[in-house]
Symmetry: C2
Subunit: 395 residues, 2 copies
C-alpha cells in the first residue's frame, strides 16, 4: 500500500492519481464523488463507492457503459449489505415460487451492550451531521397494505416500530424518507407494504423527538449570539419567555414530559441544562446541536459499536402465508476497527477485487442488486463472520 | 370608470394600459406586480399596490427615485393599516419622550358573531392558499424581553396568545414568520420585544394544528390516487395502517384528542370523515386540504366577515411603565363589501388620490410608514368609521 498525500480539490492532483490506477475507490464525502467519476469516465477507469447513486452519477450510466466501465455504488452496509441480503432472500423465495406481499428493512449503527452506561445506547459512529438531519427536509413516504402513507418530519420519531433480534433484545425503527426508492431495484413494484427504516435502542426516538419538537434540528437559519450561547441558552431559544420559570420546567410543560421521565435523564446526561458555552462562533440550530452532542456522543476506547440490520418479509407460497425475519449483528473489534467501518469497508474492498479481476460482466452505473456482486460478496462476508440469522414462521 | 377587458400576460396589452394612465394601481396576484412595475418604471408612471415589498420590487427603488416616481406598496390593511396605525402611535409616544420597550401587533380576518353558527368562527375571506400555507416554509422568529425566540412550523399553532378586544371578546394570536422584518421601518431596532401575529377566535389554532400535525398542509409533494380519494381517505393517508380501527379512533389516539373534544366537532363540521370524493384529479396535501375546506369555508350571503387588529405597546415615560392597547374592528357591510375588501381597498384608493394630487413628496419604493401617507389616510379612514379604540394603563 502506498499513501500519497495531496489535495483532491486540485484538478491536476486528482487527474494524476486517477490516471495512474485501473480501479478507483472513492471513500470521499458524497459530494466529492462527481469530479472523481468524471475523471474515471474520461480516463477509462472503473469506480467503486459506498454512497447513494445521485442523479448526476446516474446520468453517467450510458457514457460509462459505452466506454466499457463499471461504476459500482451503494456497496457499503446501508446502502450495500442491505441490498445484497435483500436480493439474496428475494431471489431464493422467487425461485420457490413465492409471491412477496410485504417488505420492511431496517438498519442502524448504535452502541453494543458491553459499552459503558449510556442512556441513549448511542454515540456517533457515522457522519454526525447526517444523524442530526435524519428525516428532515420533507415528509416520509411508504406503502402499507396497499395504502400510501405520509409522515411529516416532525412526527417521524413518534411513528416508530418495535423489533427484536434473537439474543440481542429489542430495537425501535423509524421510517427513512426513501422507502419507495428501491421498489424497482428489488422488483417489488407491486408489493403491498414497502418500508425502510433506521434502528435505534428503544427510547432513543422519543428523546430525539424532543429536539425535533423544539426545532433544534433546523438547518435553515443562523442563530443569534452563538459565540455567547450556553447549552442552556440553546434550549431556551426554542422555549417561551417567562420571567421566573426554569428552562427545565418550561421544557417539561411545553412537551408534556413528566418529571420522572427518562427523557429528562437523557437530556441531562448530554449536559443540555448546563451553563457550559457551546463553543462555536456561529451556526444553525442543527450545527449547534451537533456540536453539543459531539461532546458526549464521540466514541472512546471503551465504547464498542454495533451494526444491526433486520429484514422482515411476508410472502405467500403454495397457499400459505409466511413471515421471514433475517437479522444481522456486527460488533466493533477495536476502537479503530468499528462495526461501522468494517461493514462498509469490506464490501467495498470485495467489490473492488471483483472489478479488478474482471468478474463483473455488467457495465455502467450499478449497485449490488446484481448476482455478480452480491453472491460472491455475501459468501466472503460470511467467511468473515458477517452472517444473517434467518427465521421463518407460517402465519 | 371604464372597464377594459384584456389579458395582462400579453406584453402589448399591459404596455398599452400602463402607457395610457398617470397612476397605476395593481390589485393583481403578488407575483404579477413585477412586470407591471417594470412598465411603470420605463413609461414613467406611479404605482400603488397592497402587497408586501418583494426584493425585486425593492431593487427598483433607486431607478424609480431617479425618474421622480413613487411606488407605494403594503398599503392595504395587513400590510397597510397596521403600519399606519403603528407609526401614528409611535410618533405620538416618541413626541412625549417615551421609550418603547415592547411591540406586539396582531391582525386577522374572521367571521363576525352575527354570522350563522360556525364552530371555527372562520371562513376564507382572503387568499385560501395563503391561509392553508400560513406559517409554513420555515421557523418563526421574534424577540421577547431581549431574547431571540424561534418556533418551528409544527409548533406555531400551539404557541398562541390570548387577547381581548373591549366589546368583542376573546381572540387568539399565532406568530407570523416575519416578526423582525419591520424593526427598522418602525424605528424599533432596540426594542426588547417584537412580535407580529395573526388573530383567530379561541380554539381555531388548536384545531388547525391537527392538520399541521398530520402533515396535511404540506405543499411539497403530490399525493397518490387523488382522483379516487375521499375526505376520509385523505385523513387516513397520514394515519398509521390498522386492519380494523376507524379513522376517527386512529386520529384521536395519534394526536391525543379526547372523544368529547371540540376538535372532533370542528373536523366533523368540515365533513372530513365522510366518504365524499375530494373532487380533484391531483394535488399536494395542501391543495387537497384547501379544496375540502372551500366546500365549507366559502362565504355565503348570510355570513358577515370581521377584520380585527390589535397593537400592544409597552413604554417607559417619566419613570413609569405603561401598557397601551389599540384595537380595531371592521365588519362586512354586505356579501360584496366585505370587511376584508374595504379595509384593503380604501387605503389603496386614498393613497392613489394622494399620489395623483402629488401630495406625497417621497420618491422611490415606499410603504405607509411615512407621515405623508399615514396621516391623511388614517384621518380619512376615521371619517369612514375605521377608528382604533385605545386604552392605556400604568403598569
Amino acid at each position: 500500500m502506498r499513501v500519497v498525500p495531496g489535495d483532491l480539490t486540485q484538478p491536476e492532483f486528482l487527474e494524476d492519481i486517477v490516471a495512474k490506477h485501473d480501479v478507483v475507490v472513492s471513500m470521499l464525502p458524497a459530494f466529492m464523488h462527481l469530479p472523481v467519476a468524471e475523471r474515471c469516465l474520461r480516463l477509462g477507469k472503473h469506480l467503486i463507492t459506498a454512497s447513494y447513486i445521485s442523479s448526476e452519477m446516474q446520468s453517467m450510466h450510458e457514457a460509462a457503459r459505452a466506454k466499457g466501465l463499471v461504476f459500482v455504488n451503494e456497496c457499503g452496509v446501508d446502502p450495500g449489505i442491505d441490498h445484497m441480503s435483500t436480493m439474496d432472500i428475494l431471489h431464493r423465495l422467487r425461485g420457490q415460487g413465492a409471491e412477496i406481499t410485504s417488505y420492511e428493512s431496517f438498519c442502524g449503527g448504535i452502541l453494543a451492550p458491553e459499552s459503558p452506561t449510556n442512556p441513549w445506547s448511542y454515540k456517533f459512529t457515522w457522519n454526525p451531521r447526517n444523524v442530526v438531519l435524519a428525516g428532515s427536509g420533507g415528509a416520509v413516504h411508504f406503502v402499507q397494505e396497499g395504502k400510501f402513507k405520509h409522515i411529516p418530519y416532525h412526527q417521524v420519531f413518534r411513528r416508530t416500530k418495535f423489533l427484536d433480534i434473537p439474543g440481542y433484545g429489542r430495537f425501535e425503527g423509524y421510517a427513512n424518507r426513501d422507502s419507495l426508492k428501491y421498489q424497482s431495484a428489488y422488483g417489488l413494484e407491486n408489493v403491498g407494504t414497502m418500508y425502510r427504516g433506521t434502528l435505534r435502542r428503544p427510547g432513543f426516538c422519543r428523546a430525539w423527538d424532543v429536539f425535533v419538537k423544539l426545532g433544534a434540528t433546523d438547518d435553515s437559519y443562523p442563530l443569534e449570539r452563538v459565540d455567547r450561547m450556553t447549552h442552556r441558552d440553546f434550549l431556551n431559544t426554542f422555549l417561551a419567555y417567562h420571567p421566573t420559570d426554569r428552562v427545565e420546567l418550561k421544557l417539561m410543560h411545553y412537551l408534556n414530559i413528566s418529571q420522572d421521565s427518562d427523557l429528562m435523564e437523557k437530556l441531562e446526561w448530554l449536559g443540555l441544562f448546563t451553563d457550559e458555552l457551546v463553543g462555536l462562533e456561529q451556526g444553525t440550530p442543527a450545527q449547534v446541536l451537533q456540536h453539543i452532542l459531539m461532546k458526549k456522543w464521540t466514541m472512546t476506547d471503551a465504547d464498542v459499536d454495533m451494526l444491526a440490520m433486520i429484514h422482515r418479509i411476508e410472502y405467500r407460497l403454495e397457499g400459505s402465508d409466511f413471515h421471514l425475519q433475517s437479522s444481522l449483528i456486527a460488533k466493533g473489534k477495536s476502537a479503530d476497527v468499528t462495526a461501522m467501518s468494517y461493514t462498509v469497508g469490506w464490501p467495498v474492498a470485495m467489490a473492488t477485487r471483483l472489478v479488478a479481476l474482471d468478474l463483473i460482466p455488467e457495465r455502467g452505473v450499478v449497485m449490488p442488486n446484481i448476482p455478480s456482486l452480491y453472491e460472491p460478496i455475501l459468501r466472503e462476508l460470511g467467511e468473515r463472520g458477517i452472517r444473517f440469522d434467518e427465521r421463518i414462521q407460517r402465519r
